[in-house]
């Protein structure tokens, strides 16, 4: 059963919560069109403009963030919307790390 940030069964707490713990390792971000918006997204105003707007708030794509916690073991955390998914994929982790080391043009 999924657990919340305190290790309690997720059903006990808001669905807004997820697993705890974030280390320091490589991090990559990419945008996937059509990903679901934030759980509490506000309706589009009839007048005026939401302050500090960005692609996410405007109903566009939201980023998926990959956090390679340990490329050697393939531990990856994926963040998207209000979710966090843990993966163990050594090949993917190594490819992300290699991609992140390419010089940005």
């Amino acid at each position: 059963m999924p657990t919340d940030q305190f290790g309690q069964p997720a059903s006990r707490r808001s669905v807004l919560r997820g697993a705890a713990g974030i280390g320091a390792a490589g991090m990559a971000a990419t945008a996937l069109a059509g990903f679901a918006g934030p759980a509490q997204a506000a309706p589009k105003p009839e007048h005026g403009r939401d302050a500090g707007h960005d692609a996410g708030h405007e109903g566009g794509p939201h980023p998926v963030v990959a956090h390679v916690r340990d490329a050697g073991t393939g531990h990856i955390e994926l963040y998207a919307g209000t979710s966090q998914v843990h993966l163990r994929d050594k090949d993917l982790a190594e490819r992300i790390v290699r991609a992140s080391q390419k010089q940005v043009r």
Binding site: S14, G18, Q40, G48, A51, D54, P63, V65
Partner: protein, 456 residues
């Protein structure tokens, strides 16, 4: 302070920094409980042009435990967003703001309220308007009549809600207390005060004429309690999403991932005064159910050891108690479990043996009439006050100072002789030290100070 800027991490994130929490049976609607969670410490009323507002990326929550396990059974969630009426203006307002929908008010804030329990989420309200900050006599004329009172919203089920700027009601002599635990009325007895030749003086309220942002919700008692268990535990939390990608175009960027708790507050002054610096940020990220790991800070408070040192000869019995190494079971009861039946005649707010820092309110105790309210709460014989929940008027600094100095230890050891000064210990302030008084109606927090008349 109660919990203003109390930990290194949260002191750098003011919009998520909880400052005070109140929970009391509503004096004018005794079938309801009012919960007030304050955020954003030490707002100077003239702090424009970007006046204070809630964080749009912050999930604010007021949590209620009704079965004594330190986990929330009912949670009220609040999410805010800001809307600009005139995006191409730098001004907060372009004329007098005469109503919540006035187009002269440029930067408006709105929020949603959701109730969460085991059955799921219930959206109680959305696009609810906050009032503007109290800018000044020209910008926000007749503030409370036109704006403040209009921002009280009725919700389904007999609930009502308010979120916005209010006058700080917590009073404390910060300038003295943080100067080597000096208390102006007793500073000639302070080790360093004596050396400096200081004489006794009245306290100075460092938080007077400052504002905070309040989230207040009033709900039927039946919304909160479990059958046969009238005592609830209350705490507030603020959470942010774990990842944030900064925008390159001036926008807010992309908060991503699950929310992670960054701030919490139950009883006043716990993280502020009892928890050591190295654990304060960690404490903020923990749930009350995990507070057993912090029990030693409550059982052996650093301040109780410091008082006899800083005030030589003034607290001889407290010094002996400290030296004995006995745990302060009185403080553990007050702050971590509630006070069991039999210790105070006619009173209990015990929730069980789970040690958890929560504001415990026995909802079966009726509110005290305003004319008979004692700000010393249970210590003053008024069972409707702190530590039975907390009312706006309760003098929690004096209550906790005296408790730490040993006044409540006879609850555990009736033979303990309380030091004479401990019985009168105070930072020298009372409710009279607050300029804008509490309201007699919801949301009870006073009218915010305006920038024109309170420029510094």
């Amino acid at each position: 302070m109660s919990s203003h800027r109390e930990a290194p991490g949260i002191s750098k994130d003011p919009v998520a920094d909880s400052t005070d929490l109140y929970a009391f049976v509503s004096p004018d609607r005794p079938s309801t409980v009012t919960l007030v969670a304050n955020y954003i410490p030490l707002e100077t009323p003239a702090g424009g042009p970007n006046f204070y507002e809630f964080g749009s990326g912050v999930l604010y929550e007021i949590n209620i435990d009704n079965d004594g396990d330190g986990w929330p059974d009912v949670t009220y969630q609040f999410r805010f967003h800001t809307r600009l009426t005139t995006p191409n203006s730098f001004l907060y307002n372009t004329g007098p703001i005469k109503s919540l929908s006035d187009p002269t008010w440029n930067s408006k804030q709105f929020y949603s309220v959701t109730r969460v329990d085991r059955r799921g989420h219930q959206l109680l309200g959305r696009n609810l308007a906050c009032p503007p900050c109290n800018v000044g006599i020209l910008s926000t004329p007749h503030y409370e009549r036109n704006l403040g009172s209009k921002a009280v919203h009725q919700l389904p089920g007999g609930r009502r809600v308010f979120a916005g700027q209010r006058a700080e009601q917590f009073y404390v002599d910060l300038g003295s207390i943080f100067d080597l635990a000096n208390l102006r009325p007793f500073q000639e007895a302070n080790l360093f005060g004596k050396m400096a030749g200081l004489k006794a003086e009245p306290g100075v309220n460092a938080t007077d004429r400052l504002n905070v942002h309040s989230i207040a919700i009033q709900v039927p008692i039946s919304d909160l309690v479990k059958r046969g268990r009238p005592t609830i535990g209350v705490w507030t939390t603020a959470s942010r999403q774990k990842v944030h990608i900064a925008a390159e175009d001036g926008g807010n960027g992309w908060p991503t991932g699950p929310f992670r708790q960054v701030s919490r507050l139950g009883n006043p002054l716990v993280n502020e005064v009892l928890i050591a610096l190295e654990d304060k940020d960690f404490w903020n990220r923990q749930p009350p159910a995990h507070d057993k790991q912090f029990t030693h800070y409550v059982a052996h408070p650093e301040l109780a050891n410091l008082l006899p040192v800083l005030y030589p000869g003034v607290f001889p019995n407290l010094a002996k108690l400290d030296a004995s190494g006995k745990p302060r079971l009185d403080l553990e009861a007050i702050l971590l479990t509630g006070i069991p039946r039999g210790l105070i005649k006619g009173f209990t707010n015990f929730t069980g043996t789970v040690q958890a820092d929560m504001l415990r309110l026995n909802t079966s105790i009726p509110p005290t009439r305003p004319s008979r309210l004692n700000p010393l709460g249970v210590l003053g014989g008024d069972l409707a006050g702190f530590p039975n929940g907390r009312r706006i008027q309760d003098d929690v600094v004096t209550i906790e100072l005296r408790a730490i100095a040993g006044v409540t230890y006879p609850l555990i050891d009736p033979k303990y002789k309380v030091d004479n000064v401990a019985k009168i210990l105070t930072d020298g302030l009372t409710g009279a030290s607050v300029t804008n008084k509490p309201l007699t109606r919801f949301p009870y927090m006073g009218v915010p100070y305006d920038g024109y008349n309170n420029p510094s």
